[in-house]
Amino acid sequence: MRFAFTDDQLLFRDAVADLLAKECPPDVVRGAWDDETGRRPELWAALAEMGVVGLTVPEAHGGFGLSELDLLPILTETGRFAFPGPLLETTAVAAPLLAENASADIAQRWLPGIASGEVVATVALAGQPFVPDAQLAHVLIAQRDDRLVAVATDRLRLTPETSVDGARRLSRADWDVADEALIIDGEPGWRAANRAFDRGAVAASAQLLGLAEHLLAVTVEYVAARKQFGVPIGTFQAVKHHLADCELKLSFARPLVARAAYSLAHDLPTIERDTSAAKAMASDAAAFVARQALQCHGAIAYTVEYDVHMWLKRIWALTAAWGDAAWHRRRVAHLLLDD
């Protein structure tokens, strides 16, 4: 029994955090709101260079062939820095889906490019209809009932949708059936789609933890510095208790998220239950932290000039995406209570 990440996993995480600290400061996130494409390709390339983008791509296709557990701490860092870009879709969902289910042809067409950073993938699963970054991706992995298909994005008709998070470029995607390449269908198609959904939910949970940890840290800093009534507001017990509760909720969401990644990595029969427990708790915890962070900052956090709002909005987006807390609690209830 050892419920902790390995030293290697943590070292890799730290290296990614260092890179993001340099290459993904808040003005880059802000740039993703304002810029036409919403992205900085050199940031993606730098992550690919480190092996992050291709982390889950099998070695035979030029990746690292690592698992959800290796990816998890890195996703938390991308959350902490509010990294803009479809790493969740490409690395956490599309790459393993292709690696496990696609024919040699399809796999060869997309996976080496994902590993090298030249191919960006995105996904549209049932219940997850708004596709992030389709405008800059190369391939869309989409679900239609029991069919999982790959579509080159130059064959898509995109209808833009607007997320509360200006750095999330969403659209709805349509295409002609003639343009799709079937990955898998039938009963195995359902299974693959469900697995992909669970991977996305766990990855979103990991990012939510990082986003919330960042917000809590900047709020702690803020309340220790901001003075009212002649003292730092962080000395007031009402403020202390808000923030203690943030740490409380995060502390008990973290182990569930790690456990869900473990279940995915080891293909355990409890994947669905563990995923839903994790996403329900991570969503609730992050939403709570977002609310308290805003409250404890007062009006400054209500401005778009101050950085906090970008983290708040990413949290609101990711708590709604990949199944919200109530959806996941209902799934846990179903799995526990309906024999």
């Binding site: 962080g234 202390k240 208790h241 209902r330 209570l337 024999d339």
Partner: protein, 398 residues
């Protein structure tokens, strides 16, 4: 990361499970009542005879030298088998770690085996009428008696759990009235059958008798009953209270077992509702279904967080002030879980004890009332939130 136990650990689990299944008593009255207490002590003596009473202690004191992982496994099995909370817990889980850390060899061999065997029964004497959350406000004092080689104590302790049934008390007494608030206190172990001790039972909210007020009138305590250094009791006491918040007292087995019972209750209530019993209609409420799921999720989160904590402890990363997070979480989880159960019971929720229609013998209302004490004892949750804010997050004190 590896969430599997070793073969040896699984063998340990199998041995514990087999023994517990064959021996756990069912339907004992509460251990916080006079008659219940004696029956619980009998059960715990049986536990000791089979060497399951203090599995993690060294063999010389009656343990099995079990690892922290094995201890956790044992606790899981203990609660899964439906065994009751330990009436010896104040000694075994709170005083014992303090004796292991601060006690002399003579104190270890005198007190540890007798505690494990449920011969010495310990209660804790911290709180006083004017010293609750502000424990440093204690006034009970111990005055030096050089001729007799010991101390003479006077004063009053209160809210002493099972104080009326125990024969030993440990706690803090002021030995230097001139010293600053957190200094000049000494940690003493006091025999409750000594001359000058008066114990008065106080009824509890949940119907049990388990509280006591303890009065000391010039009670003699010999020098060998001082734990740690004279006047240094605060530091020793902090070790005890951090055990109370930390791992050993609140093993996840208890909450996982309670969550499993809640799931079972939901299934029974919804079967009744399906058969048309109007009293069980709450089982169809989707919000309650989600609450049941959330209770299970919370218990699982607590179990997993404990696995992470034990991993850290085993690898030399102790919890420190983070144990306050643990304390807040389990106590609030326990309250929510019982609230959900009561909501499921609808009109039956108010029935207790041997009321003919009480579900599970009224255990849910009883458990609810007990759960409400969790956010108060072991340092109130308000105090724990202060600790988290100041010592985990680093917020300014003043």
């Amino acid at each position: 990361m590896d969430l599997n136990f070793t073969d040896a650990e699984e063998a340990f689990r199998a041995e514990a499970r087999a023994w517990l299944e064959a021996n756990v008593p069912h339907g004992l009255p509460s251990g916080d009542t006079r008659e219940g207490f004696d029956l619980h002590v009998e059960w715990e003596k049986k536990l000791f005879d089979a060497r399951w009473s203090v599995v993690s202690w060294p063999e010389e004191y009656g343990g099995r030298g079990a690892t922290l992982w094995e201890w956790l496994i044992f606790e899981e099995e203990y609660y899964r088998a439906g065994a009751p909370q330990r009436v010896t817990q104040n000694g075994i889980f709170l005083l014992a770690p303090t004796i292991f850390e601060f006690g002399t060899d003579a104190q270890k061999s005198r007190f540890l085996p007798a505690m494990a065997a449920a011969d010495d029964l310990w209660c804790q004497g911290w709180s006083e009428p004017d010293a609750g959350s502000d424990l440093a406000g204690i006034k009970s004092r111990a005055v030096r008696d050089d001729a007799a080689g010991g101390w003479r104590i006077s004063g009053q302790k209160t809210w002493t759990t099972r104080g009326a049934f125990c024969n030993w008390l440990f706690g803090l007494f002021r030995t230097d009235p001139e010293a600053e608030r957190h200094k000049g206190m000494t940690y003493l172990m006091v025999p409750l059958d000594a001359d000058g001790v008066t114990v008065r039972g106080v009824g509890r909210l949940d119907g049990d008798e388990g509280f006591a007020e303890v009065f000391f009138d010039d009670v003699f305590v010999a020098d060998d009953l001082v734990l740690g250094e004279v006047d240094q009791g605060w530091g020793v006491a902090m070790a005890t209270t951090s055990s109370e918040r930390g791992l050993t007292l609140r093993s996840p087995g208890r909450f996982c077992a309670a969550a499993d019972r809640l799931v079972d209750l939901w299934k029974r209530r919804s079967a009744l509702a399906a058969s048309g019993d109007p009293a069980a209609v709450a089982a169809g409420d989707p919000a309650l279904r989600e609450d049941v799921a959330q209770s299970w999720i919370d218990a699982e989160a607590y179990r997993l967080a404990t696995l992470a904590d034990v991993t850290g402890i085993v690898e030399g990363r102790p919890q420190g002030a983070r144990s306050s997070l643990t304390k807040i979480f389990w106590s609030e989880l326990d309250v929510r879980l019982h609230e959900t159960a009561l909501a499921l019971l609808g009109p039956s929720a108010e029935l207790v004890d041997d009321s003919p229609s009480a579900v599970d013998g009224g255990a849910w209302m009883k458990g609810y009332q007990f759960s409400l004490s969790g956010p108060i004892y072991a340092g109130t949750n308000e105090i724990q939130r202060n600790v988290v804010a100041e010592r985990v997050l680093g917020l300014p004190r003043k």
